[in-house]
Amino acid sequence: MPVRWHLAAPVQSRLVPAKSGSVCSSLSADDDKLLTEPLSHPDFFSVKELFTLKDLFDARVHLGHKKGCRHRFMEPYIFGCRLDQDIIDLDQTMQHLQLALNFTAHVAYRGGIILFVSRRRQFCHLVESTARACGEYAHTRYWQGGLLTNAHILFGPGVRLPDLLIFLSTLNNVFEPHVAIRDAAKMNIPTVGVVDTNCNPCLISYPVPGNDDSPAAMELYCKLFRMTIIRAKDKRRQSEAVEELQRKAEGN
């Protein structure tokens, strides 16, 4: 049974070699500069200005589940417990979110394929429209067993796997960790994930401790990821245009 990726319109200027997943297959000196220059800045895409502590607070990102639902590995990220409800430490969330957005921006800048994953029915439409808006992909339905690990059989040879998985909720419908977290780790695909107090942050490369149940919080995350990806892609297009002009000038 064929599985449909929820495809969005791909961005035009993207380095997409057919077979290999890496973007560095054929590089000239200009491309080299294009790719290495962002890596020298700590915050090349200024993701810090996209959000403030107040925005996170107003979107109820600090609210966690009850004490009984707490996962042991989320304890470092929890500020405290108020009347049995865990409160997530937003200072840590700020740092983690900056790292996650910065990484997402770099992946998008280098033409990586980003896949949004969430198994929450309440937000599935939001996630899919976010993915469509930034020209990336989303998978908010039942995750078949070998989608990543058995891709060459399910999709045929030469399929390109996503370069980043963004989990807007790391649990599936039965409150177990989403299979894609483990599979992405197996396939060496980095992951960004919003982890609530009942989630396991272990295998996620860039966990973002935060609320994944309130619509306000989810809309904030979607907005931030969308803005980051669009900003990174625009920057890439700009840099390429500048390179093009310089090359033409030198040629003349």
Partner: protein
């Protein structure tokens, strides 16, 4: 267990026990209209006590109400001189924390989804609550309607036998009391 007198902000629910002293009862009744917790950051105009409208962090009510409790101000208190408040400070002043235990507190919610007779109401907590459409004024409860709720629990969880962690219903529990008071009634105060 009744909360201490100074912290009581909720109007006594109909049918609940009368408050201990008549003076306090009078004070409570007088403050009843303003006593609803505004956990929800609503962009609508809130005319009680001349509060300025605003989606986030409206300034607190003048004098008599203590910050965070029983005020019509929604969201954390903003001190104009401070530009960046710390998380701990924001949390301490937030209505959710100032409210205390959620049991039997009155709050205002907004209906964001309707499925036949089920109303999905968001009152500013982590989860929404689901209430049955009441018989009185049933047609008035549509998307966007503001309603009064008596909160019972912020999240319905329970530990079942043999389970490692609590099972959660991803829902809050509240009793629907009726429509929120109209602006005209508030302006009279």
């Amino acid at each position: 267990m009744a909360p201490p007198a100074s912290a009581v902000r909720a109007a006594p629910a109909p049918g609940a026990e009368a408050p201990p002293s008549s003076a306090m009862a009078a004070a409570l009744r007088g403050r009843a209209a303003r006593a609803w917790r505004a956990l929800l950051l609503l962009p609508a105009v809130r005319s009680a006590g001349g509060a300025a409208p605003g989606a986030a962090g409206t300034p607190p009510q003048p004098p008599q109400q203590r910050p965070g409790g029983g005020t019509a101000g929604s969201g954390p208190r903003q001190v104009p001189s401070e530009k960046s408040e710390s998380f701990a400070s924001m949390l301490r002043r937030s209505p959710l924390i100032q409210m205390g235990p959620a049991k039997d507190k009155i709050a205002i919610g907004q209906i964001f989804h309707v499925v036949d007779d089920d109303l999905y109401i968001d009152f500013g907590g982590k989860f929404h609550c689901v209430c049955k459409r009441p018989e009185v004024d049933g047609k008035k409860y549509q998307r966007g309607t503001r309603v009064r709720l008596r909160l019972l629990d912020l999240e319905l969880t329970s530990r079942f036998l043999g389970a490692a962690s609590d099972t959660t219903l991803l829902e809050a529990d509240a009793v629907l009391l009726g429509l929120a008071e109209s602006k005209q009634a508030k302006q009279k105060e």
